[in-house]
């Protein structure tokens, strides 16, 4: 517990209640971070700071507002909250706005979730620079004479939060995170300069790969894009690389929120219990995953976190419904937003799968595009590699995939064995068949 943050939260609640609020919830976030980037073998940017912010949600006479501020001077804050309470009274009544039933606060995990690196405090400025220098060096070396620019970066953060509500919620969490990566730009024919990047994150320093591996991967991703061209429009198998999967998954998640369902902006609103994807898709939301970047013992409503099966064998099992929208919908609440998302991996590697498929496209990234949560229609630009006879043939860019989510996920033919673990989304590569890829 951080006593100072806890006291600030408690006194803010007191101020709000004595100004006439019927209930309130306060969140206080604090973090300390150091961020370093290198270019041309010298530090390009060094940034370091501590921040603190207060959010307060006010429930006044059946009305609701939320405020946030970084001006935490005692008198300023007191006036700020008092005035906010007064102004909340001017809004229209909203019978669905209440603090959650406290029964949902119960059962919060006391387990050590391994999200606070015990070695954090011992990290020295020199070590921080060494990590980023090593990333840069490996990237420059691996990129060789094709390299025109490398920017290597590293960041470490220690974050703390307190969430407290006037109906008995008191929650605290602290976590660390480390982040390292590089962007590598290489010279192609003419004026084309493809850029590849690789960023990896972990809750502990030991959880990150060796800096040299991080840098090498960034260079490899840039070099792989040399000579990219588009091919003729065709119906092909498409493998979406593990790192790129969250962008596609987002289209489903958006339609799974209580807000979009209640606001008639979800193509999944009436699909609970139905098969919305091939039986190969299993999606788990696990806020209690030890060492996960999305691990959180409680959610934004203060609900005790629980592991949930969202999609099982292609069948939609759950939605993301927070307290407010659960009341509007008349449903049981779950949790408002994703934590660690895990797609259950398959057995074969991407290379083995490519050999089997013969010809297709390995999508390594997306550009632009849109996914419409109301209709499920999506259209998105892709780049990556064309493979032929099971081997990478050449890079492709300026191509596009358009489909409806309800059709697209039925085309999921296989899940690879390579979950990406350096993100809160632990997604393996996914294989889709019969996808129209638009090019020339």
């Amino acid at each position: 517990m951080n006593k100072e943050m806890q006291d600030l939260a408690a006194s803010s609640i007191k101020t709000a209640l004595s100004a006439g609020a019927d209930a309130c919830r306060v969140g206080i976030d604090g973090q300390r971070f150091v961020q370093i980037s290198y270019r041309q073998r010298k530090a390009e940017n060094i940034k370091e700071a501590s921040t603190r912010g207060l959010n307060i949600e006010l429930y006044v006479n059946g009305r609701y507002s939320a405020q946030s501020t970084s001006d935490l001077r005692k008198d300023a804050l007191k006036d700020f909250i008092t005035n906010a309470v007064a102004m909340t009274r001017l809004l229209a009544e909203d019978p669905y706005r209440t603090l959650p039933d406290p029964k949902y606060y119960e059962g919060r995990s006391n387990a050590d979730l391994k999200i606070l690196d015990p070695d954090y405090a011992s990290l020295t400025p020199d070590e921080r620079h060494d990590i980023v220098r090593a990333v840069e060096d490996a990237c420059l070396t691996a990129g060789g004479d094709k390299v025109v620019a490398v920017i290597a970066m590293g960041q470490d953060t220690r974050a703390e939060s307190v969430l407290m509500a006037s109906n008995g919620l008191e929650a605290y969490a602290a976590a660390t995170s480390y982040f390292a990566g590089a962007r590598c730009t290489v010279q192609d024919e003419g004026d084309r300069r493809p850029m590849g990047y690789n960023f990896q994150a972990s809750v502990s320093r030991k959880g990150l790969p060796a800096p040299s591996e991080i840098g090498k991967a960034a260079a490899a991703r840039a070099l792989a894009m040399l000579g990219a061209k588009k091919i003729e429009t065709a119906t092909l198998p498409v493998i979406i690389e593990n790192l790129a999967v969250p962008s596609v998954l987002e289209g489903l998640l958006e339609a799974m929120t209580g807000r979009n369902i209640q606001q008639k902006q979800s193509f999944l609103a009436d699909k609970k219990g139905q098969k919305i994807a091939s039986e190969r898709l299993a999606l788990i939301d696990d806020p209690l995953l030890a060492g996960g970047l999305g691990t959180q013992p409680f959610d934004a409503d203060g609900f005790a976190a629980k592991k949930r099966t969202m999609i099982e064998a292609g069948v939609l099992k759950e939605f993301y419904v927070n307290w407010y929208y659960s009341r509007k919908l008349g449903w049981e609440p779950t949790t408002g937003s994703p934590s660690n998302l895990i797609i259950t991996p398959g057995k074969r590697s991407v290379n083995e799968i490519m050999k089997d498929l013969g010809r297709g496209i390995l999508v390594t990234g997306f550009i632009g595009g849109n996914s419409n949560s109301t209709t499920g229609d999506a259209s998105i630009g892709i780049f990556g590699q064309l493979f032929e006879n099971g081997e990478i043939a050449h890079a492709v860019s300026e191509m596009n995939i358009a489909d409806n989510h309800l059709k697209f996920w039925q085309k999921l033919a296989e899940v690879a064995n390579d979950p990406w673990v350096y993100d809160s989304n632990r997604t393996p590569s996914l294989v889709f068949t019969d996808v129209v890829v638009a090019g020339v």
Partner: protein
Amino acid sequence: MDSITRRSFLKTSATVAAAAIAASFPKAFVDLAHAETPGYFEREFGITDALSRRVLARAISKGGDYADLYFEHSVANYVILEDGKVNRAYCDVGLGVGIRTVKGDQVGYGFTQELNEKSMMAAAGTAASIASGSSGGPVGQFVDLKTENYYPIKTLLTSVPLESKLPIVQAVNDKCFSLSPLIVKVNAQFHDEQKRVLVVTSDGVKAEDLRPKNYLYASVVAEKDGKRERAGWNLGGRREFSYYTPEIVDEVSKAAVERAVVLFDAVQPPAGEMPVVLGPGVTGILLHEAIGHGMEADFNRKNMSTYSTMIGKKVAEPFVTIVDDATIPGGLGSLNVDDEGIPGQRTVLVENGILTSYMHDRISARHYSLASTGNGRRQSYQHYVQPRMRNTYMLAGPAAAADVIKSAGMGIYVEDVSNGEVRIGEGDFAFYVSQGRMIENGTLTAPIKDVNIMGNGPKMLQNVIMVADDFAFSQGGAGYCGKGGQMVPVGFGLPTILVKSLTVGGVKA
């Protein structure tokens, strides 16, 4: 690189971007009589010249070439309607100072939310550490920068009572429902932000600015024969509150409803390469994204842009001129002064087809031995400066819009786009067409939807073969541009233009 937080630990669904309907603001925040008097940060927070000099001296104490202080006090409000009632409001107050030390092209940065000498000196010490020599000496007197005012206001946004905003948002709801029986949901929002900044530099510039920003937004869901479509529209900029008249309410509502309802008749065009006509106004986003970013000087200084060897070269036909302009009255991207104390100005990027200038901040200007173009911007005191666009647009050309459409023959007409993205090094971009039409035999026909268009920025610019005389500046107030994890408001505009060929990602032909 942005501050990468672990994830939104405690981000409540309520406090999206959120800030304050309320707040006890210093007098100058709510009282215009005090608003335009210089010295806001001195009066309210005790930031004297002497204090600034001490902090700057600390920032260059290890041999930095230059340092600046960026003070910010901002109040942003969101008043939101859902399910027929204005039943929520968010407010966010930001207060802090960012301290930057520059050594060559290296930057040290610290910031603090506490405007006292101890905290500022500590942040200055962090910034100073980018250099490793001896003192840069004392900092001299400051000269107050005098600038034009491109967004003068008679009433401070913070003095507009909530009671005045509520009926406007409610009126959008009522208007949308009255316009079509197909409408089943309306979300409406009024946003205003008032940002005060003070920039003090070690080379003696002291500049203050008061930046208003606001918009009125409507988003509607329509239902027909069991199908649903959603669309939205907004108007705004750096405006007076009095801008939001009943006519503006009508315009926002009408645009949102029409845009949703038309989608029921929309088709997907065939996929492949085809001529594309960009309609006037908001499609200027495409110019911003596909071409503008590649002309930001940092990408060129670091050899990351496809434009890094093209200054002085022909990049477009002679009837193409592109500018980036801080001086549009009320423009969302307008700036009296940029975030490193350089006056707002108009910069010609492409003149009659020739690439004439990049967009510079102080660091890139020094790299190229040029004067800064005033494009040094940052999201907030927590972020360091990058060269960023302001209001970016193409000037009108000689053709008539009808002739441009006719010349396209078979292709698509783009009225509105979103979700643009560019890969700076290749210049490849992709955009989602949210509103548009088919062009068949030189005539506008069926509406289109759910289409991505892709191309290459430099190639597209060369392929602009007609420019019409109907230039329009986008009147939106919600245009944000993201770069390096920082969001800043930007404006854009375009006349009707014909691009010879782009890839349209529709259905299989």
